[in-house]
Amino acid sequence: MAQLPWLSLLVFFPLAAAILVAIMPANAHKPIRWWATIAALAEFVFSLPLWWRVIPGQAGFQFEEKLDWIPVLGAQYHLGVDGVSGLLALLTTFTTLIAIIGAWTSVEKRSREFFALVLALEAGMLGTFFCLDLLLFYVFWEAMLIPMYLLIGVWGGQRRVYAAVKFFLYTMAGSVLMLVAILSLWFLQKQYSGIPTFDLQAFYQLPLAPSRQLWMFLAFAFAFAIKVPMFPLHTWLPDAHVEAPTAGSVILAAVLLKMGTYGFLRFAMPLFPNALEVCAPYIAWLAIIGIVYGALVAMVQPDMKKLVAYSSVSHMGFVVLGLMAMNSQGFAGSMMTMLNHGVSTGALFLLVGVIYERRHTRKIADFGGLWTVIPVYSVIFLVVMLSSVGLPGTNGFIGEFLVLLGAFKHSVWWAVVAATGVILSACYMLWMFQRVVFGPVTHEENRKLTDLSFRERLVFAPLLVLIFWMGVAPQPFLDRMQPALDRVLQMTNDRAQMMAQADATATAPLASRLPAAPAAVSVPAEQGGAR
């Protein structure tokens, strides 16, 4: 497996499948659906080795692939995977498979283009998780927007155009500033080591004066904060979720939101540790406000999808809080919450999609007393709701508890205020659940609802298994993510001290003070997994 360019295959297989689907005859709905499902299934099975072949302990990135892309710029086609990106990639392939199976009946018109775009989106996401070259990362980061934009724009609800354009512009506005930061980082690297390169590992060793780090960190953080989304920059999420088709919002919630936090973890924090130390409290408090604000606003939403969207803002606030706590519990908690949120919110959107398909309305008021009419659906809804609320024994609890523990260790007040999020999440979820599932059957149309078909149960079965597996025995997940997270933590702290000292002795000119550095960096190709 190692000599086979596995990661590239993982990234480009869905793209090829997408093209194949796109050229199938438009009206052949059945074969299109089957082909898309088989492609997604093959991709998922093909990505399973990420689970056992990525040796948690081994330092650096595995399955590295390096090809020269634009030598004059020093940009390389450089892919690699470690504990963190491996798990997120698995989440991606799993969610795409679930979304595609879930979307069989929900897409009537133009299913060919729909499935092609979903597969293309998967390729974009996997690319973003695997690449270790900043330019390649930026290319995948932006390229990924196009399929999502079209998915929302073409198959969305009434205000789909507004939501799609808003989604695109919001993310684009953030990431162009990141591009400027990447370019200036590239220029500093060229100045410092003489060799132009976009290689992440080279940047990890690039000494940056803390004063210079700040604006670059803010540029990166701004781009990722929009994607997370963090508190003031989140207004694109409810619109995008409400208008996106079910499969679209499942993937949007389960994976796209993780791009932001993954970006923090992989790029923003290790590259600019001193600036991080300065900004961490502010970002943490923004995250906490996000938690409480998201929960409060979710409480009064009349539309189910908007409620779940705001709950995502709240959950992602936990993830960022975990990162800002800067200790192993906080990191592990935020990574777990990323995975949990992917599973439980993805399931929630599928659930909303199921009844939307049948009733074509998402208003909570239009439902009531579903338990009597569709019990199986209601039981699944109960379990997923409990996992989203973070009941111990389900996956939600592990993530939230670790984040709160990490935050507590950093500062008690963080944990106290964030923990109120736990109460509020119970409030809005239970209130929604009660109005939708419990109570007498108020609307006549609800009586005619048909319970979950076999396909739909097939979709929810793995999600329920995951909810309980990650809740009861999360250790396999934790073992895989911890080495990678500890390395990031370690690197961030080491660089912070190194830069602080470098700044202190900033009298000597930059180049001469670190003579050994250029040699170490000059030959990035052979070193492969060098730290």
């Binding site: 207004t235 009064v300 200790n327 009941l391 106290v416 109120t420 007498p440 025995a473 999360p474």
Partner: protein, 673 residues
């Protein structure tokens, strides 16, 4: 000991839940009932076996620890799923499984005609699993799993008849209030983790003395937070509001969850972490005061309630108040002893009330009962025993535990608490016998011909409390969809309801003898010696002279008798006394009837403001401010775009002008520099 010892106990009900879920519909009612009760019975058997092996060991190593697997390990912090049996948890596990089993048997009768019979036992078994995990947990986190698990099950069971809006509201209220408590408990546990690095009881209690400064602010805050969790779970001020509403659920649920087991979880947690609480005297004071206040407050409200289950609910809150102020004064042993005895007679009272309601075709208002003694002899007898027990008349169980608490309160100098306890005892005796008299004695205030007992106003009860309070949960008879409809005369409940009643009645009598202590036999009571390895002798060994012991006992018996006498006079011989009292204290009566308007108060200061705040946050902040700015930028740009397009007039002259101006501007720029 090839058979697994501890983890099998919670595993059995879980297995029953799984089997019920998978093959439930094929088993039919009989099968489900057998599966559910069998599982709990087996669990009880295993529990007894485990306790016996425990008892067999010598004093020091009276502890069985079984680790199943490591739940999760992150950095230096790790939690494993492990179970601990020591004298304290032995008592609890016996009570939970024993009383649980009886209630399961009882439920097979009570819920016989309910269409979703299977779902009821599924939830009940799930609850047993969660409660047993809580009780047998070896660390705070596993206890928290059980803690929230029972919260979930109470939510499901209260809202069991989900068509009823009030039921689901009550369930939601219970879960959220519990969640607020759990918030406190979680933060308290986090303090422990942050300082001791572990959640395991062993390690925490071992390292606590030298990590925390006794009486220091950290330990006080931690213990206060944990106590907040306990108030949530065991319905103390301020988080008790959910328990009275929880009566919406089926009566066996009230018996099991809201009398015997779940509500005692808070007390168990406090007693389990007595090492920590003893290091924080301030917290102990708070617990004592809160306990006493709750006891008194709940008792006063109980005086005027007309719904049989609500009276019992407030009585539970009141008795829990006793247990907490027992812990508050340092008498953790007495607290646990009262937990045990209370479980017996309170479960019996609830089940009795259940069989009364069952007999009366779901009539819960005492004003429409009366004279049932002859019609339901067994229920009458067992209820009488339980009422006497709770009133605290020797030799019944209630007397011994309540007296020991009052004695300990007196001995440790908490005279205020002691006085409150006495006053509470009087009221308890009064309202319990008021219930007894209104239900079983006097004339039948319902027509024999069956159908629903229409409310012909009985003179004694015509007093001014007709104003149904806002929540309408004291409605004459709740019209949940499942009432039995079968008319017919009031008759005794079937065997599977009366047998558990009688067993509990026996326990209510002999249950207390376990705790007979000093004045009668020398040295600690059996219960005291049994708990000694866990609770340790500790600072709270105060000796009262034998004479004062007897004096106290006499005093408590006297006030109990006085309460009973007053109840009989007011409600049996001269109803006029009751009506007279109501006129004079009309205001007070209304305050009590409406539970001091606490619910309305909470709504006013918490629920509604949060709702308004989030509505404003969403409408104003999210849509106007944040989205406003975002769209604002868009509109601004479009405005500028329209402006710029005006310049594009289409006339060649204008364009030439701009070229000339451009050239001019360049000149000026360079001439200046």
């Amino acid at each position: 000991m090839n058979l697994p010892m501890l983890w099998i106990i919670p595993a059995l009900p879980l297995a029953a839940v799984a089997l019920n879920m998978l093959f439930g519909d094929r088993l039919g009612k009989k099968g489900t009932a057998f599966l559910a009760c069998g599982a709990v019975g087996l669990a009880f058997a295993f529990a007894v076996r485990a306790v016996l092996t425990l008892a067999g060991r010598s004093e020091e190593e009276r502890q069985i620890v079984e680790t199943a697997w490591t739940w999760f390990r992150v950095g230096d912090f790790s939690v494993d799923v492990s179970f601990l049996l020591d004298p304290l948890s032995a008592i609890m596990v016996l009570v939970v499984t024993g009383v649980g089993f009886l209630i399961h048997v009882y439920s097979t009768g009570y819920m016989a005609e309910d269409p979703s019979f299977r779902r009821f036992f599924l939830y009940l078994n799930l609850f047993m699993f969660a409660m047993l995990t809580l009780v047998l947990a070896d660390n705070y986190l596993l206890m928290f799993v059980g803690w929230e698990g029972v919260g979930l099950c109470s939510y499901l069971l209260i809202g069991f008849w989900y068509e009823k809006q009030s039921a689901t509201d009550a369930g939601k209220k219970a879960f959220i209030v519990n969640r607020i408590g759990d918030f406190g408990f979680l933060l308290g546990v986090m303090f422990l983790i942050a300082w001791t690095g572990s959640v395991n009881f062993e390690r925490v209690f071992a390292s606590a003395p030298h990590l925390f400064t006794a009486g220091g602010s950290i330990i006080t805050i931690a213990t206060l937070l944990m106590f907040l969790g306990a108030t949530g779970k065991s319905a103390q001020i301020p988080l008790y509001v959910w328990l009275p509403d929880a009566m919406e659920g089926p009566t066996p649920v009230s018996a099991l969850i809201h009398a015997a087991t779940m509500v005692t979880a808070g007390v168990y947690m406090v007693v389990r972490s007595h090492v920590l609480f003893e290091m924080a005297p301030v917290t102990l004071e708070v617990i004592a005061i809160v306990g006493a206040a709750t006891a008194l407050m709940a008792a006063t409200i109980g005086l005027v309630q007309n719904d049989i289950k609500r009276v019992l609910a407030y009585s539970t809150v009141s008795q829990l108040g006793y247990m907490f102020f027992a812990c508050g004064v340092g008498a953790f042993g007495a607290g646990i002893f009262h937990v045990m005895t209370h479980a017996f007679f309170k479960a019996l009272l609830f089940l009795g009330a259940g069989s009364v309601i069952y007999g009366m075709h779901h009539e819960q208002d005492m004003r429409k009962m009366g004279g049932l003694a002859t019609k339901m002899p067994v229920t009458h007898a067992t209820m009488l025993i339980a009422t006497i027990a709770i009133a605290g008349i020797p030799p019944f169980a209630g007397f011994w535990s309540k007296d020991e608490i009052l004695a300990k309160a007196f001995a440790t100098g908490h005279y205020g608490i002691f006085a409150a306890g006495l006053l509470g005892a009087v009221m308890t005796a009064f309202y319990m016998f008021r219930l007894y008299v209104l239900t079983f004695q006097g004339k039948a205030r319902f027509d024999e011909s069956g159908g629903h007992a229409h409310a012909h106003a009985h003179a004694a009860d015509a007093h001014g409390a007709h104003a149904h309070d806002a929540h309408g949960h004291a409605a004459a008879h709740d019209d949940h969809g499942h009432d039995h409809g079968h008319g017919g005369p009031v008759k005794e409940s079937p065997w599977n309801m009366t047998v558990p009643l009688s067993v509990l009645a026996v326990l209510s009598v002999i249950g207390g003898w376990v705790g007979i202590g000093k004045p009668f036999i020398e040295g600690e009571s059996w219960m005291g010696r049994w708990l000694e390895p866990v609770l340790g002798s500790g600072p709270h060994v105060h000796h009262l002279a034998v004479s004062t012991e007897f004096g106290l006992m006499g005093l408590s018996v006297a006030i109990a008798a006085f309460g009973i006498f007053m109840a009989f006079r007011a409600y049996l011989q001269q109803p006029s006394i009751a009506t007279a009292m109501h006129e004079r204290f009309g205001g007070v009566h209304r305050a009590l009837y409406n539970k001091y308007w606490v619910d309305e108060f909470y709504d006013a200061i918490a629920v509604n403001p949060i709702y308004q705040a989030s509505m404003r946050l969403w409408r104003f902040w999210d849509e106007k401010v944040v989205d406003g700015t975002v769209n604002g930028v868009g509109y601004f740009l479009e405005g500028v775009s329209a402006l710029l397009r005006l310049f594009q007039t289409g006339y060649v002259g204008t364009y030439a002008l701009f070229i000339a101006l451009g050239v001019l501007a360049l000149f000026l720029h360079f001439l200046r520099s």
